[in-house]
């Protein structure tokens, strides 16, 4: 006869309630681990998907994710000229937050280096890669923009031509892929009035300078577009992504490009580390610590529950001692219940989690590695937290049965 199961089936209502409670608690622990994984995965996802061998960014910055990086647009041509470089792509990247109807539309805008890169590498669930150099975009499905939708960003209207899956910025926002020209236009979108004010300011500044006074024709230039001014550079891009002929040349090529005084070069691994050590580090350790805290809380609560369960049975335990039950019988009763409770809680956590986690705004990734780890933790918690109950059961005198 299994006493543990007999007791559970006698008090089945209470057991189910307790198991559900522990299950929910474990689900939170599990979810916290999943969120942690999600943050780490999301952080490096873009870097992995972009699959560049080298990242060329503004000198001395840790860009373009950890901080802002600005490099001249023509840098990609310069990089392409370096022996060993197969492809050099412009990389334009920034996050915008706009209103879409009454919904806040927050997206990371990533410029594709048209025509080298039409976005063929992006995993699409619907639609197609970019088909023209401007006014098309591929939206991640988390942005919830339907295929074919026309959206207005800044002064232009863009059409959603493709829907991607799992393309998320390190901050968890869905990515919108535009051609880099469009991405720059979005980034540098300035209201007409601001443009006019800027031109007026340029003109009046010019009038005060010798050059302006001596060559009034120059002042005409002041009212032209910024891009057309010979003295003002084209808008800058965030970085240049270099793909090599042979990945083994990375070190040599990085040395050459790194020698240019206006840029710094990172390998993909270095870039990944910059992110993990930098922008997501705090979130990561925050969630990690919270997870540890939750595990401790779960242990305490389970210990409390198992202790109470044992206390409730103390009279029966004393009675069993009185009629001669050995310690192993009593130990079996308490430990088996602890393990059954832990296992049921874990199962409930898993099943409910599978239903709930996909509905979270950010990815919750439950790896089997984490599941095994949590199962081991629950096992240890169950055993350890029955310690108090076991101790109580061992010291209770059979006399108590008579009280």
């Amino acid at each position: 006869m299994n006493l543990a199961i007999k007791d559970i089936s006698y008090n089945i209502g209470r057991f189910v309630l307790t198991a559900v409670g522990i299950g929910m608690l474990l689900m939170v622990v599990m979810g916290m681990g999943g969120i942690y994984r999600g943050v780490v995965e999301d952080a490096t996802l873009l870097i992995d998907r972009l699959d560049a061998d080298l990242w060329v960014v503004q000198r001395s910055t840790r860009g373009p994710f950890a901080e802002i990086s600005r490099v001249p647009a023509k840098l990609s041509d310069r990089a392409l000229a370096v022996p060993g470089v197969r492809v050099a792509r412009e990389f334009v990247y920034h996050t915008i937050q706009r209103q879409d109807g009454d919904r806040v539309l927050r997206m990371a805008v990533l410029g594709l280096s048209w025509p080298t890169d039409k976005g063929d590498w992006i995993p699409l669930v619907e639609g197609r890669p970019l088909g023209q150099s401007r006014f098309e975009l591929i939206a991640d499905q988390t942005l919830k923009l339907p295929l074919g939708k026309q959206i207005e960003i800044g002064n232009e209207v863009y059409q959603v031509v493709g829907i991607s899956r799992g393309m998320i910025s390190s901050a968890g926002d869905g990515i919108a892929f535009l051609s880099s020209a469009d991405a720059l236009a979005v980034q540098l979108d300035v209201p007409g009035e601001a443009v006019r004010l800027e031109r007026a300011a340029r003109e009046s500044r010019g009038r005060l300078f010798d050059v302006g006074i001596q060559q009034p024709a120059l002042l005409e230039n002041a009212t032209r577009q910024s891009g057309q001014l010979p003295a003002i550079a084209r808008p800058s891009i965030s970085a240049v992504l270099v793909t090599l002929e042979h990945p083994s040349d990375a070190k040599a090529v990085a040395e050459v490009i790194g020698g240019w005084t206006d840029v710094t070069v990172y390998t993909a691994d270095e870039q990944r580390n910059l992110l993990l050590k930098g922008s997501v580090e705090k979130v990561r350790s925050q969630i990690g610590l919270f997870r540890i805290l939750l595990t401790i809380i779960a242990t305490i609560i389970m210990a409390l529950i198992l202790y109470t369960l044992t206390l409730d049975k103390l009279h029966s335990i004393a009675l069993l001692k009185l009629i001669g039950a050995s310690n192993s019988v009593l130990l079996g009763l308490i430990l088996q219940q602890a393990l059954i409770l832990g296992a049921s809680g874990f199962a409930i956590a898993y099943v409910v989690g599978q239903q709930i986690f996909p509905k979270f705004p950010r990815r919750v990734i439950i790896t089997s590695e984490d599941l095994i780890q949590l199962a081991a933790i629950v096992f240890v918690i169950s055993i350890a937290s029955s310690g108090l109950g076991v101790w109580k059961a061992m010291v209770v005198s059979p006399n108590e049965a008579l009280a």
């Binding site: 006869m1 009629i323 001669g324 050995s326 006399n399 049965a401 008579l402």
Partner: protein, 247 residues
């Protein structure tokens, strides 16, 4: 480890023998001598009543010979073995209890999460019977005590008298040499109380089990073979009253 019992009368089998048991609770100012120099010899199949006012030390004596509550001094022999030498146990008390002693107490002491049958069955299983054998034995015992039909009921669904019968069945589970009962009928009306007392006599006479019953119920004294009285920790044998002898 055990010393053979020095039997006074070699023809009768001695089931239990308590020699000069003394129990002192606490020390110094709070010292209570609950039992002093109490001796008792119970033969196999003998049914003994233990009477006495509240606080006189009856439970102290019963739990001492029940190997639950070691005496401060004195010797206890059960089944021809010296088990307690003062507070010192000479064997594994828990397994000895399992094999040789059965207990019945005032409140039914059944395990609430086990059905009546299972309460008896567990006692057999603890003593090494397979669960099938144990189940058969449990049903036999419940049948013997006339409550086989309630074997699937949880204790909470049984009346006090039925619970006590199950408790008696459990006490009998491992064919003990001695059953110790502390006010087993206190929670029962006099009719059912008497039924339980008669059950003890039946068991003792049919199975040769010795029974020591602590009781306040003077109406059932006629069923006992021997009466003892405890007063202020002192144990004395009492002559059976003429009325009781007439049974």
């Amino acid at each position: 480890m055990s010393t053979p019992l020095p039997a006074d009368d070699p023809s009768a089998k001695i089931a239990i023998k308590a020699e000069s048991l003394t129990k002192i609770y606490g020390a110094g100012n709070t010292e209570v001598v609950a039992m002093r120099d109490a001796s008792m010899t119970v033969m196999a199949g003998e049914v003994v009543a233990l009477l006495g006012p509240s606080g006189s030390g009856k439970s102290t004596f019963l739990t001492a010979v029940g190997l639950i509550n070691p005496p401060t001094s004195g010797k206890i022999y059960i089944a021809n073995q010296l088990i307690m030498d003062g507070p010192k146990a000479l064997t594994n008390l828990r397994s000895f209890r399992r094999k040789h002693l059965g207990f019945v107490f005032q409140k039914s002491n059944l395990i609430p999460f086990l059905k009546a049958g299972e309460n008896v069955q567990i006692a057999c299983e603890l003593n090494g019977l397979s669960s099938r054998q144990a189940r058969i034995r449990a049903l036999e015992l419940l049948d013997y005590l006339g409550i086989k039909d309630r074997s699937q009921s949880y204790p909470s669904m049984l009346s006090g008298g039925q619970q006590q019968r199950v408790a008696v069945a459990r006490a009998l589970a491992n064919r003990p040499s001695v059953i110790l009962a502390d006010e087993p009928t206190a929670a029962l009306d006099s009719f059912r109380g008497r039924q339980v007392m008669e059950l003890f006599t039946k068991v003792a006479h049919e199975q040769g089990t010795s029974v020591i019953v602590v009781t306040h119920d003077h109406r059932s004294l006629d069923v006992f073979d021997t009466l003892y009285e405890m007063e202020d920790g002192k144990l004395t044998q009492k002559a059976k009253e003429p009325l009781a002898v007439a049974h």
